[in-house]
């Protein structure tokens, strides 16, 4: 399977996501430069975390105008898999690929910590490798992760089972304290109606190896791979890996001139 990680100016989890997909999940992964309009025939587009365009104006508000976003919209409407992580989720909201909006965290501070999320719906392309109600330990790192939607929309999201992940405590309970950013209905991850676009505030790429504290994030990546392999007919090709600390831009250098 081939993943494409989009690089916006200000993306800063691009290499991390690349590392998790290419070196940990062993899937072919390429960078997609925001000024390009070629998706390089990837099977899944990932919008990584970071501060695209400095998050000036509003998180994700400027990135949605990048040339590549027009292609991603086409790709998504044709059923292509799109995963937006953190800033990527915010961009998907701004681009209208997912409904609702993000407010500043309820304590008005940036929050970086491990949180627990619970799989509400394990029938999606992004959660099928997990069990229903399974609790995952995955970190968050954001300023604006306090999900908001008007009541009628929330009711609709609940009814259509579009809420895939919710913040919870270690035992899967939906306590107020566990909902650290104040999201309505504890929403941590949301899918579109068609089921091919997921926005997720926690960072699965930061929880893909035991050495950094948790590998629960693999559940999400593995779900995508399982889904795709089933769809494509059981192809199980693994990509080679060359793991080395990222110093200079990885070859191929990100983006064309």
């Amino acid at each position: 399977m081939k993943f494409g990680v989009v690089v916006f100016p200000g993306s800063n989890c691009d290499y991390d996501t690349f590392h998790a997909l290419q070196n940990v999940m062993e899937q072919e992964t390429v960078f997609l430069w925001h000024k390009d309009s070629d998706l390089q025939q990837v099977d899944c587009v990932v919008l990584p975390g970071g501060f695209s365009y400095g998050d000036y104006l509003r998180s994700g508000a400027i990135a949605r105008f990048s040339p590549i976003m027009a292609e991603i919209k086409k790709f998504a409407s044709a059923g292509g898999l799109v995963l937006g992580i953190c800033n990527g989720f915010q961009i998907l909201l701004e681009a209208g690929l997912l409904p609702g909006a993000m407010l500043t965290n309820k304590n008005l501070k940036f929050l970086c910590q491990h949180v627990y999320i619970k799989i509400e719906n394990n029938k999606t392309a992004f959660s099928r490798a997990g069990r229903k109600s399974q609790v995952l330990s995955i970190p968050i790192a954001h300023f604006d992760g306090n999900y908001y939607a008007p009541p009628e929309l929330l009711a609709q999201l609940e009814e259509r089972k579009q809420i895939v992940f919710r913040y919870c405590d270690g035992n899967g309970r939906l306590t107020e304290e566990a909902n650290v950013n104040g999201s309505l209905h504890h929403i941590a991850g949301l899918i579109n109606e068609q089921g091919n676009v997921l926005g997720l505030m926690p960072h699965p790429e930061r929880a893909s190896e035991k050495i950094v504290g948790s590998d629960d994030g693999q559940v999400i990546f593995q779900s995508i791979i399982d889904y795709w392999e089933k769809k494509a007919g059981g192809r199980k090709k693994k990509a080679g890996k060359t793991v080395r600390p990222v110093v200079s831009p990885l070859p191929p250098l990100v983006g064309s001139l």
């Binding site: 991390d16 050495i211 600390p245 831009p249």
Partner: protein, 736 residues
């Protein structure tokens, strides 16, 4: 003729001025005076400190680049190098906490990536006034948000550091930021302007009027009119810095750079003159070509602006176009503003007129060095004579224990570090709050351990000892992660050096640090001196902050910071002495900041650390923690609080010393190691072999923290209660 007021405004003396006239053979114009003033400021010229800084050892086995460049560089094997440096941004952070701290981060990041390294970690050492005063809270809140705002957006994890509170920092908060980067060992870039005729290229943000004379500001005491200096503080744009990082690393990887220097303090002035001076060349630039954010800027303003996110690059003419292409890909400007010349002069033109014509080496190398008068302050001897009063018979040590854990210097700093993205780049394997932060090096088994340390109360009581202990404790922190120290950077925060007492504190502290570094055989690779941390005559405690990096051979061996399993043996390495001088306990219970700073014996310190490292290497250690503020009882409490299972402990002690000194004394050279019972003997044997005092003092487990002294139960508290006291203390001050 320049008048006295102009000289005073530029912080130059008449003698210095006469020297300038002699060097350039004529009276300087105002712009040239500005250039000398900023380059010869204490901040850039190190004029009071130079003679002492020479005492630092600067050679070492792994050293690639020592002091004198933007940052130090050490070889860590596998073709990789670690690049690191610490900087202060104290003065701006008091005037405008958010931007002051943010641009402090921005500045040190550029120091690292200008050398060809990708910043992989930031640590910061923060000192504020006590949090019960609203002004101090607002400074603390602003500084933490500023660091968070800049570092998070840039995408560098802030992985550790320290936070202390004392009234001496109420009007002089200290913000020291240390950045660690990784580079390919054979691709380190230096600030060089080689090759006559080569292009001088300005890249990054436009130049504005912000931060003019920031370095000069940081080189004088603050008075009542300080608030008016706010326009001297720069404004940071982390987004632009991130683009600048990627663009710089890309042109470096493509071989398009000969020399590069960031524009930090003293901006264009510093980068042009330093690059040329280090290469025995000169530079000719056209100020009209410098990208400007504001209209009508004059040469003085353009040369002295400290606008952020700018770099100066020298490259050959044929590489200009490909270099500009890369910068335009990242939506950044890259403008040729001049060329390298042979004559060792800096010449600048403005509207066709030659407005600057000065010898670069005079500016860079000939800043006067002063051996200022030193005199030991009277209070030092007086405080050392202080006799610790006897233990009040009605003192409830069990209660004191709880209070100490909640004292802001010791209490949980999660309120601070959860505002920092400490995980981006996914290398952080030991999270903030442990003795040392550790990053894994992807693709290897190795880990990079780093820590910042300094205890200013010890340094106040005895600056030399304070310097020694700062080095020793930093190394001890690394040892607790199993790492051997490799190299040092330091940030020396002091008052006004023109006062003999302050200069004495500085000299003593430097001697202490130098001695300790030689003892541990680690070179000082660079650092920063911040003088004039003094407002209305009130100086900060002498505050040397040491940043030390080390290497862990196998990250799988790193012990946890908290207890891991029931009934594991708690071993104490080192000796409990009756030392209460300068302790948190003395401050809390007796309200005294007096006495003798703890003793430090290098031989035992080094052996204790070696036993710790060996035991970790042999995979015998489950948990390790060094003893520092709050002593043995607090160290044990921390291991328990950080235990994921909430494990308590029961410890039995028989030392023939005062119970309060045993529990809370801050004797040096002590480490707690926790091991499975069957392995305890092996650790004790290891200690015996290295002549280190060691014994099993108790075991982990239960839901309580219990300490016995000579068959008397002196501490007995539920884990949960202590944990809450530890965790709720600092957030409690910020509740609205």
């Amino acid at each position: 003729m320049i008048d006295d007021k102009t000289l005073a405004d530029h912080n130059l003396t008449r003698d210095e001025y006469d020297f300038i006239v002699k060097l350039i053979g004529r009276e300087p114009n105002l712009t040239e005076l500005g250039i000398f003033s900023v380059m010869w400021s204490e901040h850039c010229g190190y004029k009071s400190s130079k003679v002492y800084l020479k005492k630092f050892p600067t050679k070492g086995k792994y050293l690639i680049q020592g002091p004198g460049e933007n940052a130090g560089v050490m070889d860590i094997g596998d073709g990789l190098a670690v690049v690191f440096k610490i900087e202060s941004h104290n003065h701006p952070s008091y005037l405008e906490p958010y931007q002051g701290a943010a641009t402090g981060v921005g500045g040190i990041l550029r120091d690292i990536f200008t050398m060809g390294a990708r910043p992989v970690a930031v640590l910061d050492s923060l000192r504020f006034g006590p949090l019960d005063k609203p002004k101090n809270r607002s400074v603390a809140e602003g500084v933490v948000s500023g660091i968070s705002g800049y570092g998070n957006a840039f995408g560098v994890p802030t992985v550790g550091g320290e936070v202390y509170f004392h009234d001496c920092y109420s009007q002089n908060p200290l913000v020291n930021v240390c950045c660690v980067g990784l580079a390919e060992k054979d691709r380190i870039f230096l600030a060089r302007a080689q090759g006559v005729g080569n292009a001088v290229i300005y890249v990054g943000a436009k130049t504005g009027r912000d931060g003019i004379h920031g370095a000069t500001m940081a080189s004088a005491e603050f008075g009542k009119e300080t608030e008016q200096k706010r326009p001297n503080v720069q404004v940071g744009d982390p987004f632009k810095e991130k683009l600048l990082l990627e663009a710089c690393l890309e042109v470096m990887a493509k071989g398009l750079v000969i020399g590069i220097q960031d524009m930090g303090a003293a901006g264009l002035t510093c980068s042009t003159t330093e690059m040329a001076a280090k290469s025995d060349t000169g530079m000719e630039i056209n100020l009209d070509l410098v990208p400007q954010r504001e209209e009508g800027m004059n040469p003085y303003e353009i040369m002295l602006s400290e606008s952020q996110e700018r770099m100066l690059i020298v490259t050959s003419q044929d590489k200009v176009k490909p270099l500009q292409d890369v910068f335009s890909k990242w939506d950044l400007e890259a403008v040729v503003i001049g060329k390298v010349t042979e004559d060792e002069q800096l010449k600048a033109y403005f509207h066709g007129e030659l407005v600057i014509d000065i010898p670069v080496k005079a500016v860079v190398d000939l800043c006067p060095a002063y051996r200022r008068p030193v005199e030991a302050p009277a209070f030092v001897r007086r405080l050392a004579r202080f006799k610790v009063p006897g233990m009040p018979p009605d003192l409830d040590l069990n209660q004191v224990f709880l209070q100490l854990v909640a004292s802001p210097d010791i209490a949980d700093k999660q309120w601070v570090f959860r505002q920092y993205d400490h995980m981006v780049q996914i290398n952080t394997i030991v999270l903030p709050g442990a003795d040392a932060a550790v990053l894994r090096l992807k693709g290897t088994k190795k880990g990079l351990a780093m820590t910042l340390d300094g205890n200013s109360l010890y340094a106040y009581l005895n600056p030399k000892r304070g310097g020694e202990i700062a080095v020793a404790e930093a190394c001890r922190n690394l040892a607790c992660a199993g790492a051997a120290p490799m190299g040092v950077t330091n940030c020396l925060n002091f008052g006004n050096p023109e006062k003999p007492e302050i200069m004495w504190q500085f000299k003593e502290a430097v001697e202490g640090i130098a001695r300790a570094c030689r003892q541990f055989d680690i070179p000082v690779t660079g650092g920063n001196v911040s003088f004039y941390n003094e407002t209305e005559g009130q100086a900060v405690f002498p505050t040397p902050v040491l940043g030390i990096v080390g290497l862990v051979d196998d990250v799988a061996t790193i012990p946890a910071a908290g207890f891991r399993g029931e009934r594991e043996a708690i071993i104490l390495l080192g000796e409990n002495k009756e030392e209460l001088g300068g302790s948190e306990y003395l401050k809390l219970v007796f309200d005294q900041e007096k006495g003798k700073a703890p003793e430090l014996d290098f031989r035992s310190e080094k052996s204790v650390q070696e036993v710790c490292r060996q035991a970790i290497k042999q995979k015998l250690v489950r948990t390790a923690h060094d003893l520092s503020e709050g002593g043995l009882a607090v160290a044990l409490a921390e291991c328990s609080i950080k235990s994921k299972k909430g494990l308590g402990f029961e410890v039995k002690l028989n030392d023939p010393i005062r119970t309060d000194a045993l529990l809370f004394g801050e004797s040096q050279s002590r480490i707690i190691l926790v091991a499975k019972e069957k392995n305890a003997g092996k650790i004790l044997a290891l200690a015996r072999k290295m002549k280190v005092k060691a014994k099993v003092i108790g075991k982990t487990g239960g839901k309580k923290m219990v300490i016995w002294h000579r068959k008397k139960k002196v501490v007995d508290q539920p884990v949960e209660l202590v944990r809450d006291a530890f965790k709720n203390s600092i957030p409690g001050y910020f509740k609205v």
